[in-house]
Every structure is written in structure tokens, then in C-alpha cells.
Symmetry: C3
């Protein structure tokens, strides 16, 4: 394969002193050294600053060709004595600040692409970008500074707040509402019909799905995720919630502020998730549960009962995490337990014989 010979350049170089100033860190070594990019320790080249915040990456330091390091106080001891560095107490916010300067957002131009199709009574705010082949139904509103990617379909009556970004190929069903600064990745489907049927004469007859899908401010939704509209009443995703890729949220689910759902999670109908909850990858919850604030659901766990605030659970079906660990340990020791019972039986039979 051939790689791109001319990758898009990032912004101009920054000196080590400027970076220390930017991220609120202290520098050591050559303050005037310039770097072009921030890279992982095992991939950084001689014009890069290497990022070191996790013990796992310390092993690559001896072979690292980086000009300098952005390093946490804890990990600084793993650097060679003479390495140029910027040292910070909290490395991830520092990394975020630096990357925002090194990789400023790509320039874009407000405007409605001539191939976009807008229905009647569409309201478009100031500084909005609507990409090629986007289709906006009647009565759609798009807030100031929002960007609608190529091929998005925003169905009748949907409302998009200010400062949103919809990547290409997003579909909003009718009357879906997004708050401000919502990011929706390619292929997400919001407001689709819930999985609701009622048996009539032995056939599954579709229940009309007449609720809405309402997404609050600062939510981010991953690629190809799906959030169903409510059947009766609405599906609601709270402020600052983040969903990873391929997540499924069923009809009438409510998710509280700042909860995080990792990839391939599935939440069944009408379950209410509190604030600051974590669902690990491929975990799920059955319908009509109450998941308390701050609950932690580890990867591939299946929640089948209500969770108290702050509870951590694991396993299928889910158990309190400590109980789960103890049980797992005892399952591992089952072969030994069987042997111990066997010995007791042998002793017993020996006694009887004797």
C-alpha cells in the first residue's frame, strides 16, 4: 500500500517554553527547541514531542527519538536525565490543550450547498453549513453555527440547536430534537421506531411510535448508533451524555447527565439511567429498570434488576462486583473443591471398611 505522501500539515511549530506556558507546566532542557506534533512514545519522531502519562509506555522511552516530552510528574523519573521535557501534574487536560493548538479545527465555510434540499418553513441560523445532498424536511430548524454533513436527512419538524456538528449520513426521524453543541457521528439514527408490537389474532401488530427523541446539550453520539423515539412519551438523553459507536438505546429510555455508554451497549425499553453512570462495552440492561446515579456496569455485564446509586456490578446476570470477583475465584477453584469432597468420601468409606 502507498501512504499519503502529503499529509495535511498541522499548524506551525511550538517551542518547549511556549508549550510549558500553554499547558501550565514547568520545562527542563532546551526551552527553544521546536516541535511540530504530539505523538505516543512508541511512534514519536525527531520533530515530535512524545506524550508519557502511563507506565505501560515507559518501556519505549529508551528507543524514543522524540525531541522532547510532555510528561506527568509521576512518570518523569522514567526519562533520561538530559531529556528536554514539559512536566505537568494533570497530563490529559494538558494534552488536550496542546492538541487544540497543534491541530486547530479544519477551516469550513458557512452556507447551504446548492445540492441540499430544504423543505418549506425551514429555519437556518447564522453561520450554518449544510453539506452536499443533505435533505431537510418541512419545518426543520438549525441553530447558529451548526454544521450538517453531506447526505444527512433531517426529517420534518426536527430541531437542531446551536453549534452542533452532524457528520455525513446522519438520519433524524421526524420531530427529533437536539440541544446545543451536540456531535453526531456518521450513520447514527435518531428517533427511529421502537420495537413495539401487540399480538392480535396471533400476529405481531405494530404499535404506533408517537413519542419523540430528545437529546440535550453537549451530547456526543458515536458512529452507527441508534436511539429510538418514544412509543408513548419521549426518549431523553441528558446533558453531556456520551455514547460510543454501535450503541442501541430503545424507546422511552432516559439517560441522566454525564453518563457514558461504551461501544455495542444495548439499553432496553423504558429503563431509566441516572446521572454519571458508566456502561462498559457490550454490556446491557433489560427493560423498565432504574439504574441509580453513579452506577458502574463493567464490560459485557447484563443488568437484570434495579441498581442502587454508586453500585458497581459485573457478570451475566449482574451481581455486586465484589461478590462477582469472589464467585469467579471460587469457580476457578471448583476442581480443587471436587477433589476435597472426593477425599472426604474416600476417608469416610475407608472408615466404614475399617
Amino acid at each position: 500500500m502507498t501512504e499519503n505522501p502529503n499529509p495535511t500539515p498541522s499548524s506551525a511549530a511550538l517551542t518547549v517554553a511556549a508549550i510549558a506556558d500553554l499547558v501550565g507546566g514547568r520545562w527542563k532542557g532546551d526551552a527553544n527547541l521546536e516541535v511540530l506534533a504530539l505523538e505516543p512514545v512508541d511512534e514519536a519522531g525527531p520533530r515530535d514531542m512524545a506524550f508519557l502519562a502511563a507506565r505501560r509506555y515507559a518501556q519505549h522511552v529508551p528507543d524514543c527519538a522524540a525531541a522532547a516530552y510532555l510528561v506527568s510528574e509521576e512518570m518523569e523519573k522514567h526519562l533520561p536525565e538530559d531529556a528536554t521535557r514539559v512536566v505537568v501534574s494533570d497530563p490529559y487536560p494538558a494534552m488536550r490543550t496542546l492538541l487544540q493548538v497543534l491541530h486547530p479545527p479544519t477551516a469550513w465555510t458557512a452556507g447551504v450547498h446548492p445540492t441540499a434540499i430544504l423543505g418549506s418553513d425551514v429555519g437556518v441560523g447564522v453561520g450554518v453549513e449544510i453539506g452536499p445532498y443533505a435533505v431537510l424536511g418541512d419545518g426543520v430548524c438549525v441553530g447558529d453555527g451548526s454544521r450538517i454533513g453531506a447526505h444527512c436527512v433531517i426529517s420534518r419538524g426536527s430541531v437542531i440547536g446551536a453549534g452542533c456538528r452532524l457528520y455525513p449520513h446522519v438520519v433524524l426521524y421526524e420531530e427529533t430534537t437536539l440541544g446545543d453543541r451536540v456531535i453526531v457521528h456518521a450513520g447514527a439514527r435518531l428517533g427511529s421506531d421502537g420495537f413495539g408490537y401487540t399480538l392480535i389474532d396471533g400476529e405481531h401488530m405494530k404499535m404506533p411510535q408517537v413519542g419523540r427523541c430528545i437529546i440535550d446539550d453537549d451530547v456526543e453520539i458515536g458512529a452507527n448508533s441508534t436511539i429510538d423515539r418514544g412509543s408513548l412519551g419521549d426518549t431523553r438523553i441528558g446533558h453531556g451524555v456520551k455514547l460510543d459507536n454501535l450503541v442501541h438505546v430503545a424507546h422511552n429510555v432516559h439517560i441522566g447527565a454525564r453518563s457514558l455508554l461504551a461501544a455495542l451497549v444495548g439499553i432496553a425499553g423504558s429503563t431509566r439511567i441516572g446521572r454519571g453512570v458508566w456502561f462498559g462495552g457490550q454490556s446491557g440492561a433489560i427493560n423498565q429498570l432504574e439504574i441509580g446515579d453513579g452506577a458502574q456496569v463493567t464490560v459485557q455485564t447484563g443488568v437484570t434488576r434495579d441498581l442502587a446509586p454508586g453500585e458497581t456490578v459485573s457478570g451475566i446476570p449482574s451481581r455486586p462486583h465484589r461478590e462477582y470477583l469472589r464467585t469467579q475465584a471460587q469457580i476457578s477453584r471448583l476442581p480443587k473443591l471436587v477433589e476435597r469432597v472426593q477425599r472426604l468420601e474416600l476417608d469416610r468409606s475407608h472408615d466404614s471398611d475399617g
Copy 2:
């Protein structure tokens, strides 16, 4: 965030007496009271009828502002004595009937959007809608009254029956066949290549996937679900089957009539699923199994062997549900069992000492 100030109005108001008549129920209270919408008990306002059919929602009745209730006979006792109500024996079909009147389907207009691209020999029935930017390949047929959403791609030789609805962004690969009244949600991919390779000289070489994907009447397919075409022979989805979102059905799977697959289910190649089978969310089946009619696969279960008709299974790997429950209970009591063995050993060692 700002919500839509002008949500689309539903149809005109209905009186309590008219609703009782419509759903075949009896009314009590103010027969002339008018309601605009049906809502859940915990969301209904003073111009709404609240729906009460599950014990879980009875707790919200004291705070409910609804004008009236649609209530099952069983739950009627949870209402205040003087609440206006319509009482029915079978609440979900009644809800369905009422919603169909309160939320009639949005008006749409038959016709081929000028931006749609139709190949040669495309057959379009009477009263068909083909949305903006849809692409129909050579030889595609679309039956009377079907609606093809914006951006759908219907590849060469595919056949869509009458009364179907394809939401935006659906892709049918070549020669896919849909029956009548099939609903396909946004982003579903039907007829994609199966995951089939054969090792030749150490490389996985792609097997041509030459079978078809055939969907029978009255099937509904959820958003972003994928159904592969057959490799040799066809993949077949039977009459009235319903798939939720993000479901994967592999090559050459057959699914019998009226089976239901919840979200994130995966069925591996050539497995044959009977009629009226239920797969709970995130469950799956390995390849080449026979799943009998009416089998029930609970959430997150992994089926690794054939299932008899009517069998209910749980767990990874799946076991008969009762055995699974018993095993789970015994796993929970493992710590106690270990203690009991320990005591026996202690007693034994005490005996020996003595």
C-alpha cells in the same frame, strides 16, 4: 436547549365517549370530556388521556394531571374514585387503535423526486413515492403504494413488493427481494456479502457470495441492521418476522414466520430458526444450528447447540432455563459450600487427632 415551540399538532380532540366506542371499552365519569393525546401516567398533562396498564406506573397516579385514563380492568382499582376513564380488558390493542386515530400517518405524495436516479427497465407501481437522491439500479421493481426514502440505494434486479416503507439510507444489494408491507428502517443493509473465505496458500480468499436475500411479507427490520445474502442458496426471513436495531443475520440463515429478534442479536451462518422464536437482546447463535418453533432465547444468551421446539434457554453457553436458574443459585451459594467442606475437613482432622 430549546425545544420545538410548535410541535406538529396531532388530529382533533376526541371525547371520552368516542374513545370508549372506538376501543370497545366502557367509560365512567365525564363522557364529553375531550382529550388531545394519549400519554404515559408520569408525563400526561391536563389535556391528555393517561395510559395505565402496568403496575409499575400506578405509583404516578396520585400526581397525574391527566384529564382522563385509558386503563385495564386490572389496574382500574388504582384510580381515584372520581377519575374519568375508559376501561378495557385488553389495553395494548386498545392503545393501538386509539393512537392510530390520534396520530394518523403523515400525509405524503406519490411521485418520483426529480433527483432520484432510475436505471433501465425499472418498474414502478401505482402510488409509489421515491425520495430525493434515491438510486434504483437496472431492472428494479417497486410495487404499488411503496415508499422509498431519501438516499436509498436499491441495487440491480431487486424487487420490492406493495405497500412497503423504506426509511432513508437503506441499501439493498443486487437481487434482494422484499415481500409486501415490509418496513425497513434507516441504515439497514440487506443482501450484503456473507463472511466467507477459504484458505489458499495461507491467505483467506473470498468465496463468491451468489445466493440472494429474500424477505417475506410483513417483516420489519430495525435501524442499521444487516442481513447477508446467501453464499450458495438464499438467506430467508419469514412472514411477519421483526428485527430490532443493530441485528446481524448471516448468510443462508432462515428465520421462520413471526419470530422476533431484539437489538444487537447475532445469528451465524446457515442456522435455521423456526416459527415464533424469541431472541432477547445481545443474544446469539452459532452457525449451522436448528432452533425449533417457539424456542425462547433470553437476553445475552449464547446458543451453541440445536434447540427443541418450545425450549427456553439462558446463559453462555445456553442451558435449559430451569437448569440455568438452579445453577445460578448454586453458584451464589458456592462460598457457603466451601465453608461446609472446610468444616467437614476440620471435623475429620479433629477425629484423627483424637
Copy 3:
């Protein structure tokens, strides 16, 4: 439902002798017999050749109407004495060869569809097809003989090698790179942002995702799968890797050559997967693991620790496969173990009484 009355004809008929010659097998019976298609034993008609390579299908031979068989040496004994056949030692490569002749790729025409939108500095090789409504951003390069399906969005700076096929509705985010002969199925999203946030003042703040998504030669990616770009550093999919439908690969994952990931698999951030690894359907791996070359992860397994080369693991959490089988067997026998302990206790209490 009505099936397509005129399915696309496959190529002309082949004689049994010609097929034997083509696949390097020996024939028996009527060498001049002509067949039109290869079909499974339980679906083959009187103008078809039936394919028999698995014991499971031998039961259908007595009712099979096929004109002739393509059969493995091992399965030949299941045929009637007088059945015309082509016998091969390695049936799947033979099937592949025969299907390639019976079902030659559909004809297509190079060219850029007039509705495709190309940005500035787009490089298009010789014999490239770009479908209707495709959108290619600035600086995109497409290698010779590649086909970009309808509605694909190839964002700025992305590079597609030679001989690739992108089915409709694929999205490549900015600066995504595909090698040669890469196949990407409908709805796959490559280079989307990873799930990366850092807590600042109690809010999850988005980390810029500045790495790339780099796909090597001969990779195939299933429908609606998602591969995130790197956060720092790149996500890399190695030579000849095959991903099934609805697979999630997170930021900074590396997958070694010829690994296979079945449907609904999820791989969390920064995990490194070796060469020739197998992940069964709905299995997953947590972040920052090292999975050795040739490791085998069975269906619905959850990998939570590094795997040695060649290791086979099962279960949630994953254990060595043999230990898993032994443990499963002992879990099945738990009720008996409980009884045995009970008897020992009874005997013991009897002793004490006596």
C-alpha cells in the same frame, strides 16, 4: 409475496467434463451433462450441480433433484452409485473456482457519475468508477481500477489504493488511508472519532482525535462496521484482515495480518492484536491488551488480560479453553456436588449421634 420472475441469468452452461477440468477433479457418470448453477444439496434443481462437502447435508441426497454433484472425496460414499459427479480433494477452493466462472462479476463502466462532487486536487486513477451522489473532499486520491459506490463520502485527504471496492454509503473521515484491493461494505464508517474524554471541572471534555485510520491491502470490512481513527498515533488494520458486519474497532487498535473478527465484535482502545488471530461473534477485548499471534477467542468471550501466541480462550471473563470446558462441566455437576456434601454431613451427624 412475488419473487422476481426474471432473475439475472448466470453465464452459459458448463459440462461436467469442463467443470472437472476447471477445478482439477475427476468426473464419473455423464461427462457431457450441462449444468447452469451450483446450489446446496437441499435446494438444487434438475439443471443444477449440487455441492456436497459437509456430513450435515448428506441427509438431503436421497431427495436431491440435481443433475450432478461437486463432492469431496470423503463425502462421495453418500452419493447414489449412478450419480454423475466431479470429485475433488479440497472442495471449497474448487467451489470458489467454479463460482467465479458461473457468476462472473457484473459488468461495470469506469467513469465519474455527473452527480458526483469532487473537491479540489482530487486524483483519480485509470479505470475508476465513482457512483451517483458520491462526495470526494479536497486532496482525495483514488487508485487505478477502484470503484466508489453511490453516496459514499470520502473526506478530505483520504487515500484509496488500486482495485478497491467501496459499496454504497461508506464514509471515510478525513485522512483515512486504504491500501490496494480493499473491500468496504455498505455503511461502514472508517476514521470516526475515538471515545476519548478527560474530566475537567466535572465535565467530560472531548480529547481531539488527531491520529489516522490506516487500512492495509486486501482487507475486507463488513456492513455498518466502525473503525475509529487514532487519538494520538494511528489505528492500523493489517494486510488481509477480514471484519464481519457491525464490528467495532476503537482508537489506536492495531490488528495484525490475516486476523478475522466475526460480527458484533468490539475491540477497545489501544489493544494490539497479533497476526492470524480469530475473534468469534459478539466477543470482545478490553483496552490496552496484547493479543498474541494466532490466538483464538471463541464466541461471546470477554478478553480481559493479555493472550499468549496461539492461546485459545473462552468465557466471560476469558479463561484458557480447556480450563473453561472443565469449569463448565463442574458447574453442571454442582447440584450433585451439593448432594455429596449433604450426605457427608448427614453421615457425620449420624456418627456424632451414634
